[in-house]
């Protein structure tokens, strides 16, 4: 049986189910208990699990991140709530120097089963320090897994898999999607990390979209369909591991690819995926691979400016049209 629930409810259900299943799962972060975070994603959990397991911390991101690393090394499975993805810069040492490297540096003896839940996404008029999409920073660090759910269904399945994973997993939710509904099974399910999904089949161009850019790609595919162009939409779901097989298989079929992601375009996720396609499916490409990331400027506050910085369905469709029609890329 499935029913429609919001992404926020899906996250809440995933955490509640895993906390019921496993006593060692705890939730740590700023205002995670009675307040249930500014997005109200965690409402109700403290009532069920108590303040021993749903732990409000002072506003001290490096501190509670470090405590979670130590707790994970010694028998707990903390879910750390980082209120805004922009605060990743504050926890970098504990996440990247400690959590990510502990298993390797100890020759496999110690491990850090920890989930860092945070968010990404602009256009909430929150300006440059509350709007960034910083997943490329952590995807760059060996030892961290990185998940990018694009719907309530994925958010629940990936989070449950992340909580059960024996390694540090960073999971990014798009804060604009918390109220978006999607069909979610009532029965328990997990989505394995490292399996991409083909959400729409097509023949002429592959649109690869992460997180909410998946919706942008799906809308672009609808626009293209009206033009008589058949687009395939692929959602990688996780960046680490990255399901290259599904992505490359699709590109080999369509011969064209556009990678869309809300992180900054320079040195970003779009560049990484485009490079892997160019290296591994070069002789199947009939056009250059196009990257579409967030504009390489700090996110501006003014709505008139902010909306210019994020890829839109119309822009993706325009690029796809040019590729399919054989317009040289330098004319784009």
């Amino acid at each position: 049986m499935t029913r429609e629930i919001t992404l926020s409810q899906a996250v809440n259900e995933a955490i509640a189910e895993e906390m019921r299943r496993d006593e060692t799962v705890i939730l740590v972060g700023e205002d995670v208990a009675e307040a249930g975070t500014p997005f109200k994603v965690l409402s109700g959990l403290v009532e069920e699990f108590g303040t021993d397991r749903v732990i409000d911390t002072p506003i001290a991101e490096p501190g509670f991140m470090g405590i979670a690393v130590g707790a994970a090394m010694t028998g707990l499975r903390p879910i750390v709530d980082l209120m805004f993805g922009d605060f990743l810069y504050l926890v970098m040492d504990q996440l990247c120097n400690q959590a990510a490297k502990t298993h390797y540096m100890s020759g496999g003896k110690l491990n850090v089963p920890l989930v860092l839940r945070t968010n990404l996404g602009a256009t909430r008029r929150s300006a440059a320090q509350h709007s960034q999409s910083l997943h490329a920073l952590v995807a760059h660090i060996p030892g961290l897994k990185v998940a990018m759910p694009s719907s309530a269904y994925e958010a629940k399945g990936l989070l449950k898999a992340a909580i059960r994973d024996d390694n540090p997993v960073v999971i990014f939710e798009d804060k604009l999607m918390y109220q978006d509904k999607a069909p979610v099974p009532e029965e328990e399910y997990l989505l394995p990390l490292g399996e991409a999904a083909i959400l729409r089949e097509g023949l002429e161009v592959t649109l690869i979209g992460t997180s909410s850019m998946r919706q942008v790609c799906e809308k672009a595919a609808e626009i293209l369909e009206a033009d008589g162009i058949s687009a395939e939409v692929v959602d990688p779901r996780t960046l680490v591991p990255l399901d290259e097989g599904t992505i490359l298989g699709s590109v080999r079929k369509t011969s064209r690819a556009i990678v869309v992601d809300e992180g900054h375009q320079n040195f970003g996720v779009t560049a990484e995926i485009a490079a892997r396609i160019s290296e591994k499916a070069f002789y199947h490409l009939d056009a250059p691979v196009i990257r579409m990331g967030a504009m390489d400027v700090p996110v501006p506050f003014s709505p008139a400016l902010e909306d210019l910085t994020v890829p839109t369905p119309e822009a993706v469709a325009a690029n796809a049209r040019a590729l399919v029609r054989g317009v040289p890329v330098h004319a784009l």
Binding site: G66, L76, D93, G107, K109, D166, E244
Partner: protein
């Protein structure tokens, strides 16, 4: 000898042996490094032995420690073997971390050592988290967080002390004040007093002579017991001295401390010599017995070095192993290969 005194004598001799082992280990490591037989960089613990031994003697294998870049002493005091330590220092497969950690990252889970840390002050959170686990899981162990005076300049420590105090966690923050923050005298980088910093969080703070192994052990034993009763956290500042430079190869130290100062500490306040004298004066051991301990450990250390030098390096196939738990080789896994 009465039974109590006999038990004490055993503990005293064990502490003496442990301090001698640390000194022997460091002397050998120093030679390996100077002779360019050891790769990388390393930081000598010589001079600070009474801190590690006095504290770790108060702990069980269940109790946890986190250690520092100057961590060989903590690791040995917590029960590590010379042979496997040298193997790790030389990057050999048999080392504690299969050669992947080296001098600054030795971890020995079996004895409760959660690992040395090459980020100054980097393990304050880990130690506090281990204490949170103890409390949450109802386990009765204590965690000791070793760090130097230099680390007290890092912000992380204050954040986690605040939480440890709020949540009454069984953790002891043990600050080894050896007088120098890398190449800078501590009084140039520390304003006010260190104990006052802990007291600001309502954490009970103690100052102990870090060259007196019995004083250190007495304090640590009491605080560990009180932690187990839920009275933690605690802070101890241990006054001590490092005999070598910040790292091996830091030989020209005149610009930050004098040769006379070093000679004075070695002559007057050496933790091993002074404790040895006390053992003789109390009749716990004879001169011959102490000499025998020294030569026996010297032989053990020499044999361990020889063993480690001859031991094989890890196979090249290990380079992308142990990146993720449950994943044999990380590189194909990260490209989407199914396990």
């Amino acid at each position: 000898m009465p039974r109590d005194k006999k038990a004490n004598a055993e503990a005293y001799l064990r502490m003496y042996r442990q301090m001698v082992r640390i000194r022997a280990f460091e002397d050998n490591a120093n030679q390996l490094y100077l002779n360019a037989k050891m790769p990388g960089l390393t930081h000598m613990y010589s001079g600070q032995e009474a801190v590690a031994v006095g504290i770790c003697e108060a702990l069980t294998d269940e109790d946890r420690i986190t250690s520092t870049h100057r961590g060989h002493g903590h690791c040995l005091a917590k029960g590590a073997e010379l042979k496997l330590m040298f193997c790790e220092l030389l990057g050999k497969e048999e080392g504690y971390c299969r050669g992947k950690g080296g001098s600054m990252h030795i971890a020995d889970q079996a004895h409760g050592n959660l690992g040395a840390n090459a980020i100054v002050g980097g393990s304050a959170g880990i130690a506090t988290g281990a204490a949170l686990s103890a409390k949450r899981l109802g386990r009765n162990y204590v965690t000791v967080c070793f760090f130097g005076d230099g680390a007290t300049a890092q912000g992380l420590w204050y954040e986690v002390m605040n939480m440890a105090a709020l949540w009454k966690l069984p953790v002891i923050y043990a600050c080894e004040n050896n007088g120098y923050s890398e190449y800078t005298p501590t009084d140039e980088v520390v304003a006010g007093s260190l104990t006052a910093r802990a007291e600001a969080f309502a954490i009970e703070a103690h100052q102990v002579d870090g060259q007196d192994v019995l004083a250190v052990n007495k304090c640590a034993t009491e605080l560990a017991e009180r932690c187990r009763r839920g009275e933690g956290p605690f802070f101890i500042e241990l006054e001590t001295y490092r005999y070598h430079g910040h790292h091996v190869g830091d030989i020209n130290r005149d610009y930050y401390r004098s040769k006379e100062e070093e000679a004075r500490w070695k002559a007057d306040r050496d933790p091993i010599i002074n404790f040895g004298r006390w053992l003789l004066s109390e009749g716990v051991a004879t001169k011959e017995e102490l000499a025998a301990i020294g030569s026996e450990i010297g032989d053990e250390a020499a044999a361990a070095v020889e063993y480690a030098l001859a031991a094989p390096y890890p196979d090249a196939i290990e380079v992308d192993m142990h990146v993720f738990k449950g994943v044999e080789h990380a590189l194909p896994y990260m490209s989407g290969a199914r396990q």
